[in-house]
């Protein structure tokens, strides 16, 4: 429920950021009611778009002074409801904080405002033969602030590691508008505890990052990309085990399953896969030229040994993009064939992939749902996509249940409830599956150090009290979503 702010508060906010950048009209707040996870929606009390760290501090001071909670928002591409407005909260959007403050090619560092997109940072550093390594599939649009908050990963994080490996310093605005500088100048820790590391992955619950210093890497000199086609998912799984087991260090290993291939081929994005294919595997190697061909040859052999139907290799950048096409277009293709799409995110030990995938197929059958899988196979990060139509309340209910079973399956297989999309609101109720009460209590207390009164993104990530994940989860979420779907 959105609660209108007092006119005095609105006036003050306007004087800080400019009248055009404070949005209070309920009609205009609709656009802020969801992030990339549209199953949930709730309009904020207002949306404020500051342009500088100083403005952020003043806005936070003003709102927290009145006990009004703040939900940070970057590009709103998050898939766990992280930027979903909490009740009565004001959304603080970073879209106007989109300047690259500094690129230092000698120290291989860059400092950016939080609203800079991931891809723009790489573009800006390319002239120096440098780039920013973490590459979420949403990189053209997601912001560095969002990446920091979610500790985002991407296909190439198999070799290069996720966001936390690259963030070396942060300027953060904490509850009440206090400003802190964590780390900086290339040092990961600023002496003592690694507060920077603690902040990365805090999902907007600790404060707002207003300047971000990151490490850059030299652009890899060369790259080799393979696409292997398999009759069965099992064979593809064996190929992955073979490749990694042989000591190779691919930059990326991605699998798309039969259902996804069918979705892609049925859409306007047809990538030209042969009919009746069980799985496709994309393997990429990068680095200095020497040895790359040998690596690619070995990977190709690993695929053929376990019965790959064919292995294609890119000979140009254009061909390389062609091989990636099926993987990159999967999400959009699924949007074309079903009205609604729930992108799940979980991680399992790589060796358990075949078992988990088979069980997910079973779950799909049991609940009569179409589930398509794309995943970062190299690190066991699964993205089961459940296709549905929210206009069908019965189907929605089944989606909720299937979702829960999939989470439980992954946890039982020794995995965890998120690989890279975060906990947000969506996975909060699953936290009990992976943490005992002692651990949850630690999480709550660490959060309290930064934000004792829960004035940033309240109700997210850590469940407030013990929540038994089994029953309430499905029905609670389903009914929340029902209410929304049925809302006039």
């Amino acid at each position: 429920m959105s609660v209108p702010l007092s006119s005095k508060t609105v006036r003050d906010l306007r004087s800080i950021v400019g009248a055009a950048h404070v949005i209070t009209d309920p009609d205009r707040l609709l656009a802020y009611e969801s992030d990339g996870l549209t199953q949930y929606r709730a309009a904020p009390s207002a949306a404020v778009l500051p342009a500088s760290s100083d403005e952020v501090a003043r806005v936070v001071e003003r709102l927290h002074g009145e006990g009004i909670a703040i939900v940070p928002r970057g590009a709103g591409t998050g898939l766990s409801g992280g930027a979903l407005p909490s009740e009565g909260a004001v959304v603080l959007g970073t879209a106007r904080m989109n300047r690259i403050l500094e690129v230092d090619p000698d120290d291989r560092l860059a400092v950016v405002q939080p609203g800079v997109t991931n891809a723009r940072l790489t573009e800006a550093t390319r002239p120096f033969d440098l780039y920013y390594a973490p590459d979420p599939s949403s990189q053209s649009t997601c912001t560095l602030g969002g990446n920091v908050a979610e500790n985002s990963g991407g296909p190439h994080c198999l070799k290069y590691g996720v966001t936390s490996r690259y963030v070396t310093g942060l300027t953060v605005v904490l509850a009440g508008g206090r400003v802190a500088r964590l780390g900086g100048s290339g040092r990961v820790a600023s002496g003592g505890l690694d507060l920077t590391g603690l902040f990365v992955g805090s999902e907007g619950c600790f404060g707002i990052a207003t300047a971000i210093e990151v490490r850059l890497l030299p652009l890899p000199a060369s790259v080799r990309t393979l696409l292997a086609i398999f009759d069965t998912m099992e064979a593809a799984g064996h190929a992955v085990t073979g490749i990694i087991g042989s000591g190779l260090m691919p930059a990326a290993v991605e699998i798309i399953d039969r259902a996804t291939i069918e979705a892609v081929e049925a859409s306007v994005f047809a990538a030209g896969y042969p009919k009746g294919v069980g799985a496709a595997l994309v393997v990429e190697f990068d680095g200095t030229e020497a040895g790359l061909d040998a690596d690619a040859d070995r990977a190709e052999r690993c695929c053929l040994e376990v019965g790959a139907r064919e292995v294609r290799r890119a000979r140009s950048e254009e061909e390389r993009l062609g091989l990636w096409k099926g993987r990159k277009k999967a999400f959009g293709a699924m949007g074309r064939i079903a009205p609604d799409l729930l992108v799940q995110d979980a991680t399992v030990p790589r060796t358990r992939l075949p078992h988990v995938l088979a069980s997910i197929t079973e779950i799909g059958k049991q609940y009569e749902l179409r589930i398509a899988n794309v995943f970062h196979a190299g690190d066991g990060n699964l993205h089961p996509n459940i296709l549905f139509d929210r206009a069908d309340p019965d189907e929605l209910e089944r989606v909720e249940r299937a979702s829960h079973e999939i989470m439980k399956l992954c946890v039982d297989a020794g995995g965890t409830i998120t690989g890279e999309h975060g906990v947000g609101i969506d996975k909060r109720a699953y936290m009990g599956l992976v943490h005992n009460e002692t651990e949850l209590d630690m999480l709550r207390r660490v959060r309290g150090v930064f934000d004792a009164d829960h004035l940033f993104n309240p109700g997210k990530v850590v469940p407030d009290a013990v929540e038994t994940p089994a029953e309430p989860v499905g029905s609670e979420r389903a009914s929340a979503a029902h209410a929304e779907a049925g809302a006039p």
């Binding site: 009609d27 205009r28 656009a31 053209s140 994005f269 959009g332 074309r336």
Partner: protein
Amino acid sequence: MAGVRVASAAGPGSDTLASALEAQRERLLPCVHCGFCLPACPTYERLGDENDSPRGRLHLMQAVVDGRLDAASDAFHTHIDRCLGCRACEPVCPSGVEYGTLLELAREAAARARPPALPTRLLLSVMGSRTARSPFFVGGRMLRATGLASLGARILPSEGVLGTGRLGLAMLAASADGTDRIRRARPAGGAHASPLAEGTSPDTTPADPESPNVPSSPSDPPSSAFSAGRRARVGLLEGCVQKGLFERINAATARTLRFNGYDVVPVPMGDCCGALHAHGGDLDGARRLAQRNMDAFERADVDLVVTNAAGCGAAMKEYGTLFDSDADLADRAGAFARRVRDVSELLEEAGPRPGAEVPCTLAYDHPCHLQHAQGLAHAPLAVLGAVPGTEVRVIEGADECCGGAGIYGITHPDLGGRIGRDKVAAVRAAAGDAACTPNPGCMMQIGAGLRLEGARADVVHPVEILDESYRKAGYYE
């Protein structure tokens, strides 16, 4: 006869404001809210408000369809109106959301709920009527010829109503021939340093039966119109603004096409394409004009319909969608749409034949309605590539809108001005002898922007350069 009014194509229930959009629910559904379109959007880039992003606008449309938002609300009106219609959000969308079509429907819903401002309505009615258009443009040409337009652009204040007049006059002045300086330039080598060693006669071009120009749909006429040695029989859309202010480009289009083997026939009864109307929310008006064009071009019995204006091409290629819900006309409109080509497509298809050297440097900008709406980025560059001595510098940010967007600069002076100034800065940074872009609207917007900054303001269309190259080579003699 032309002007048959299409009974509300939205079907029964079109009285409800949202019904046209409602009928398009299917087009809205593929939006998965991923936000990939945000960085492509010039208004979001500058304002940072989700409501001014493609995803936000689609969300507003969806809210209207769902009955959660009033089509007459200030929010819907303002943010739908503030869209440039540049469609940069389309090619980047992984779900293939047809934003341009949805925007037109949203504009219609908004316009019915709240009629647009008087100047917009006036402009649409002038453009939609041959009788009103003609004196309007005679006046325009007089202001341009007497230098009054460019004088006004220099001396009027930049604020308020007079500021709007100043922009209008600057645009008018910018429609003047920009090839003068280029014509006068002396070639570095000999005047006839043409690589054209053979085949100067268009008649030697063999007709290619596999050519994509040959209509292939069963509802299209047989290709009997292709006489030996000729490419296709094409009718030129003279258009409204082109005919009024850019007759020279229409003439250059006809000449260069003929020289490349096309049989260009006049279609005097062709009308305005209706793009301005569709973008302005007057879909019925757009349909009326579309029907007149269908009648005229069908009567002229042409294989293809050609235009030199990116906006007109984009609109005509979507006539099929415009009549989506009209069972009687949808097929006919679809068949028409499949025959529409931009002049650069036809020239690229033909080669095009090289001419004499035209030594100059052009600061080239992509028109949104060519690049994003028609997926044609290369063809105009191929046209310029046929001109020896012409160096093309594609400006920084060429894939972003120039802010022209019809009359955007006049309806949204602040934001349009900001977008326009960024474009002008990029054009100036490229330091060409002239700016070059294949769309009259963009030519006027960029030319006006340069003029208002007191910079050299020559703007040319690629076919003008090719035409000059042919003229110099003596091909027309």
